[in-house]
Symmetry: C2
Subunit: 140 residues, 2 copies
Amino acid sequence: MGRSKGDRRERELVNKLYENEFGVMRTPSSGSSTKRELPDCLAGNGEYIYAFEAKSSSGPPIYIEEQKIEGLEYFAEKFDCAPVVAVRFDRESWYFLHPDWLYRTESGNYRVKKEFANEHGVQFDELGNENMILAQETDE
Amino acid sequence: MGRSKGDRRERELVNKLYENEFGVMRTPSSGSSTKRELPDCLAGNGEYIYAFEAKSSSGPPIYIEEQKIEGLEYFAEKFDCAPVVAVRFDRESWYFLHPDWLYRTESGNYRVKKEFANEHGVQFDELGNENMILAQETDE
């Protein structure tokens, strides 16, 4: 749960996006002065734009607050793009999921188990792919 | 030329965008670790996306380095949006200009005089307007 490890993971994702010809705007991790939750980063490759909320875990399920996802979806609407939850478990790749796919807890928060991510998550190579399910989800 | 005043002006623009229902991602003013020049902010309102390079001046012409504009245009391509130079002279409103409209100095940098901005710049109210010339510039 350490901020530094989460930050390192997030930078890892941003660098991978850069290497794959995405333009990336990253939200500073230090508290911003805006009223609204911002996504962790916004990335575009000329064809697709993604708003990412990125979370990492050593193994236990990842929980994401409802208001974070609301912020993500608000932004995705403004940029007419896919809202994407990016999860990274230790010794696994990044997996990408649409918020609609995720389990909601009784309090309304979102939960991602490692097994669920492995089974249903989209992998990095599929980002920017025309058949990418995340793009299809939001195309209409 | 003080960073703090430029920062305040930029925040002024960001807040105005927020108030007008734009989602805004702002680049932290502290040096980022990315190799590429980032725009100052990226804003979307569900219809249009703009990548802004924002500059303010107490009165003298504003100069923008060639590589800043190259970074702006690179990003605009990745987000399929308009690259916009936003200028703010003291006691004036913000004016928005496409880089192609601007005077190039012999060294390749860009220059915006106050009079030019007043005459050719697009005003805030025209952002997000369907007839906005900046959107038309990049639609095809």
